[in-house]
Symmetry: C2
Subunit: 311 residues, 2 copies
């Protein structure tokens, strides 16, 4: 079925009528890099004032929930609390604990930013690798961190702009170790993201894919569109999935997440915005995609919700 275009006050009214809870992707939906998307402040406030539930679900694993709170505040949002924010660094840490049941106190090897390290620490683990400055060097074969530490019990790979061959090579040693038996978690599968200044930039999924390819083994994807991740969010937020919708700018992560998760009662689980990575000209190819990636609704920007309501 073709997506319904939301561009009138009536459309917005019926949307607000249909859903009690709104799950927001961040990059491309709420902001572009450090810039707020116009109208989002007012739209979120409107949802708050009208008793709607909402949560933020980002595949970016670079920042911890605490840092996201800071970012929301800096951009002018009020009343956003840690429990409403689900970055995949948090998803990775809870997967290590709740799904893999790795004993707290274990070491976890990280290729990624400190968001992953922070969330692992908060769940009681000891991150190694990661932002360790000993890995900022030129690659050399005698490097201490190329030796596998037997106390490491899993590997988490995610978003980072701080990678180099030393980090890749040391991570590979863990992924190959003991006949590839250490669990391998990837925070996301995103190829690229709208990085600001009009630039499309490599995203964390590309780093995960790099390690998957070089180690020649599969990973556990803890980010969107993983339905395990959705279940965690719904449970933590106490959201009824029939009355919940996902809003995002990426078809193969956000939209698929809402659709596969059967949000909106399996009949209208996703809203695509055009303020991020997906552009109007991409819509011509929508019909070529698997139905799991076709949005229920399309809106230019979710910031328009407030504008349309006040027409």
């Amino acid at each position: 079925m073709d997506p319904i275009r939301i561009d009138t006050k009536e459309h917005v009214d019926s949307l607000l009528d249909k859903y009690d809870n709104f799950l927001f992707d961040c990059d491309g939906v709420v902001w572009l890099d450090e810039t707020l998307i116009p109208g989002m402040l007012e739209t979120i406030k409107y949802l708050q004032d009208n008793g709607k539930g909402f949560a933020f679900i980002t595949n970016n694993s670079s920042k911890s929930r605490n840092e996201y709170i800071g970012k929301f505040k800096k951009l002018g949002f009020e009343g956003i609390t840690k429990d409403m924010i689900f970055p995949t660094c948090y998803a990775a840490a809870t997967t290590v604990k709740e799904e893999l049941k790795i004993p707290q106190g274990s070491k976890i090897w990280v290729l990624g930013d400190h968001g992953i390290e922070d969330e692992l620490r908060e769940q009681g683990y000891i991150p190694v690798g990661g932002s360790d400055k000993a890995l900022d060097t030129e690659f050399h074969l005698e490097h201490e961190l190329l030796k596998v530490d037997p106390e490491v019990k899993a590997v988490v790979v995610g978003s980072t702009k701080h990678f180099n061959y030393m980090r890749i090579a040391s991570t590979l040693q863990y992924l190959l170790h003991d006949n590839k038996s250490l669990p391998f978690i990837g925070t996301n599968i995103d190829r690229s993201y709208p990085g600001g200044n009009g630039l499309t930039l490599p995203a964390g999924g590309s780093v995960v894919n790099f390690m998957e390819y070089t180690a020649h083994r599969d990973f556990i994807n803890v980010g969107k569109p993983s339905t395990l991740f959705l279940d965690t969010v719904l449970k933590h937020m106490n959201f009824n999935k029939e009355k919940t919708v996902m809003i995002g700018d990426t078809l193969y992560t956000d939209i698929k997440f809402g659709n596969d998760g059967e949000l909106g009662g399996g009949n209208g689980g996703s809203i695509l915005v055009l303020s991020g990575g997906t552009k109007p000209h991409d819509l011509h190819k929508l019909h070529e995609l698997d139905t799991s990636m076709i949005p229920s609704f399309i809106i230019e920007s979710f910031g328009d919700v407030f504008k349309l309501l006040n027409l």
Copy 2:
């Protein structure tokens, strides 16, 4: 058909009888990183003394042919000339010229080591990006090299240990530019290689795969197992393919290259060595592979040829 194990003087005699020309992979066959594989010096000399043809075909694109000459000399080889050496940096440069017919004097964007830059220059092109020190910085959105230079006519991605987010991000701008229309050459598809000290290290194919994933577009593979590459080698060397065999340590590149290329008259085109990335325990899974990856012969090390001859 099961590969024939070569482990007697008689086997070696019949091999030397069957083939006039020997195509050697380098890493894992001739050397491991900077260390010569025992017996290879004597084996190559034996082939030279007995009028056999040979060439070296490596998917590693980091070093130019001139540098490989230096490496062969340093390891003690004599009589190895530039025209016998086919690294994929050379294959990339000749593809730009002969297949893509890009006018000489054009700029070519490079993600990879100076081997690619050197070979491009030798074919009359101007490499940009690559080893440019301006790319050694922390990533920032205002970086001059994130702006696409319209004089760039193709992109070559290959082996490098010197990558960082700045290089990846700037390369992505070229791969996405103008609706992904610039030709995208990848030097190889190798996941990893035996890097010395017993370590398996990420190979150039992982870098190519990274860019393929983040840009979401296909590339032209100029390395093994490309039959185009084989045709170039056979033509340059004037080798009769019926009487030629490929010797390598990697099933999905070297062995497939010999088999797909129908070397040895389509009946025995490849010899697997166990001195590199493929280990004896990997052989148990041979029968699960596509027949194009099953070697005609297996020998512990090609350096054993000389030893077996003198038993």
